[in-house]
């Protein structure tokens, strides 16, 4: 009897505590003081200022923005210590928006923005160091599109960052020149790291794990930056990117089949080497022309082909798996190679204006045992699927 009473009391006490916690979690009172303080500093910032955000979890209902002042550093007390939560965001399409030169953002976490985590546009010099962006409910289509989103910028450095659960790309670098993405971890996004219409990019020493597609190098039409080129992807671990594709339709990443390590789409001048490409249920590397999307474009300067590609010295591992059946490209792999994940898939679509025995200048030198390669001859309804790699045994300096 006595014991039962104690048990009941403890139980009700627990319930009480739980409901209190829930209430305070739901209310998330807005930290207006911190918003006012930081945004005022951002508005009044002078060249060279360091704006420090102390340790703590802060709930903000509006975007923070820095505009037009160069050489400003926005610094938290650490990725785990300074957390800006936008769960109750009422206004602004991103958590933090930067339009300024030589800016550094470091040591903080941005959570639950309604749109993108951090957008940096038209910056000459933008560095993200030890910055984390995420969404607390995990992978959901209603999450913002991009975690770290530098666009139309030059001299972009993303170093030692983390990005997860973005409904498009965790780390998305679009229409930029001179880009480095290194030492970072992208997990359970639709795309882990995406380099789109960029010139001169290096992606190295990163881990892309558990996304739908690990690393994407894309060139899309109708963009003011025009065609991109020159991208090196090396020393990365690209592992088990088998996540369901939860991107809203319409976005280019919506076509990525779960179980994809790397995709080159209309990419030019790409070198991929020394990567560990592990356990993808559909394909390790896909080399494709934009024609494969069957989308039209109306941009006479657009070059839809992938060429000047050198893939070498990567290590591939596969587990037994059934390739994806949710997206067209996954279905295609299953149709051509039932139940057999592939290592390197090439659509074989050629630019008729190029000549020679290897017109697209595609070089592949891989030594993994039992490597599964196929040119699927997509231009001719997959009539002549070729598994022989010898044609592509060349180097590009």
């Amino acid at each position: 009897m006595h014991n039962t009473l104690i048990a009941l009391l403890s139980f009700s006490a627990l319930l009480l505590i739980q409901s209190c916690q829930q209430a305070s979690q739901e209310e998330n009172p807005v930290d207006s003081d911190l918003y006012e303080k930081i945004q005022t500093q951002l508005i009044n910032a002078q060249t060279g200022d360091v704006i420090e955000i102390p340790a703590g979890t802060y709930h903000l209902d509006r975007s923070l923005s820095l505009e037009g002042v160069s050489n400003v550093t926005i610094r938290g007390a650490g990725m785990d210590a300074t957390i800006l939560s936008f769960k109750n965001q009422k206004a602004g399409a991103e958590g933090l928006r930067i339009t300024a030169d030589s800016v550094t953002i470091e040591q903080l976490t941005i959570m639950d923005t309604k749109g993108d985590g951090i957008k940096a546009q038209d910056c000459k010099g933008i560095t993200f160091r030890k910055v984390n962006t995420s969404w607390s409910d995990g992978a959901k289509a209603s999450n913002g599109g991009y975690g770290l989103y530098p666009v139309s910028s030059e001299d972009v450095l993303i170093d030692s960052c983390m990005a997860s659960y973005a409904s498009d790309a965790g780390i998305y670098v679009g229409q930029c020149n001179n880009v480095i993405v290194r030492n970072s971890l992208a997990f359970e996004n639709v795309a882990g790291i995406e380099i789109e219409n960029c010139t001169n990019s290096k992606v190295y020493n990163n881990i892309a794990r558990g996304n739908t597609g690990g690393i994407l190098v894309f060139d899309l039409p109708e963009l003011p930056a025009g065609n991109g080129s020159l991208c090196k992807v090396y020393d990365n671990v690209i592992e088990a990117n088998n996540h369901k594709n939860f991107a809203p339709e319409g976005n280019i990443v919506g076509i990525v089949p779960p179980g994809t390590g790397l995709i080159l789409l209309a990419a030019k001048g790409v070198e991929i080497y020394n990567n560990k490409i592990l356990n993808h249920k559909t394909m390790g590397i896909a080399i494709a022309s934009y024609h494969i999307t069957e989308e039209k474009w109306n941009d006479e300067n657009y070059d839809p082909y992938t060429y000047d590609v050198y893939i070498h010295n990567n290590s591939f591992e596969r587990e037994r798996a059934v390739p994806d059946l949710t997206k067209d490209f996954g279905k295609l792999i299953n149709y051509l190679f039932p139940g057999k994940p592939q290592d390197i898939i090439y659509d074989g679509i050629l630019d008729d204006t190029r000549e020679g025995s290897n017109p697209m200048n595609l070089c592949i030198q891989e030594s993994s045992d039992g490597l599964r390669f196929a040119n699927v001859d997509a231009a001719n309804d997959f009539e002549n699927v070729e598994k022989d790699l010898s044609k592509y045994d060349c180097t590009i300096q």
Partner: protein, 367 residues
Amino acid sequence: MSNRALKLIFLYTIFTLLFIQNCQRPSSVQTSTSVNFQPEAIPYQYLSEYSFFTTPLPQQQANASVIAYEPRTALFTDYAHKARFVWMPDSVQASVAADGSILFPNNTVLIKSFYYPIDFNKPEENRRMIETRLLIKKARQWEAFTYLWNEEGTEAKLNLIGDIQEVSWNDKAGIAHTVDYIVPNKNQCKSCHNRNSELLPIGPKAQHLNGAFTYQSTKTPNQLQHWQEAGILEAGNWQNQFAPTPIWNDPQTENLEARALAYLEVNCGHCHHPEGPAHTTGLYLGKDFIDDRTKLGQCKPPVAAGKGSGGRKYSIVPGQPDSSILYYRMLSDDPGVMMPEIGRAIAHEEGLALIREWILEMNGACN
């Protein structure tokens, strides 16, 4: 009485006098009849210090040298009413650029007050004043300053970091509305007022001003003419040179597409322009892009819309507004989806109806 006590009384008196003076300062400026503009002292802490308006301030009765104006098609801001004015120093004039942009001299001030009549059927009565934005051209560069009104609507104070205010009104049909009105912070001004990363005015273009305007029962047959008569615009045949912008909700001014494009140009085209902040999207909105319908969004896939695509494949699918991203984002009130990104919290039903009709009547198919 001791010396010490006298000293105390003296100090107290001085303090009180200072205090009174301090409190009265703004209202003492308010009674002056000409505009008070000292470039080195700009921005003032209080709106009244400029003496743009005679008292009482909320009526926005402009001083003689402050000229009210209105663009033919205006940006939607959560149904806020707007009163716009321009002031220039004596003996200088604005000129007109080849594209119709009005080129203002230094020390010009563009003034825009945002307010809500409690009852939209009585717009002159019982106004809730929210903010007054000033665009000031200092040494050839524009700067933006926002003044936030107090609750009594008697004074507005300089504000940098913006605000969120709950506002209620009854529309013309008597239906009650409430919105969290968002006052942008200083940095956000440039999210819209931006050409090649330079802060610039949006509204004052010859095309937008080429028409009549009635302000507080004074009718101006043509604003460009009026500006010239007032001596603030260089003489020229502007009325004929720059065809009037269609009035988006007046079918007598232009056909459906022209009105839709005028609406999009004014509401979206400041960003969605090759030199605007949304240049990265390749989506350019306004009549200047009519020759390339992909740029206008027709069958154009999104670039970086993220969840803003709403599962739709193209910005505009002819005949199908509900499959068009453009329409979806104008309809949305989710900050991560809606367009424009800032400047509204609710959708503009009447504007949406226009865009819907335009897309419905558009010919063609995607893929």
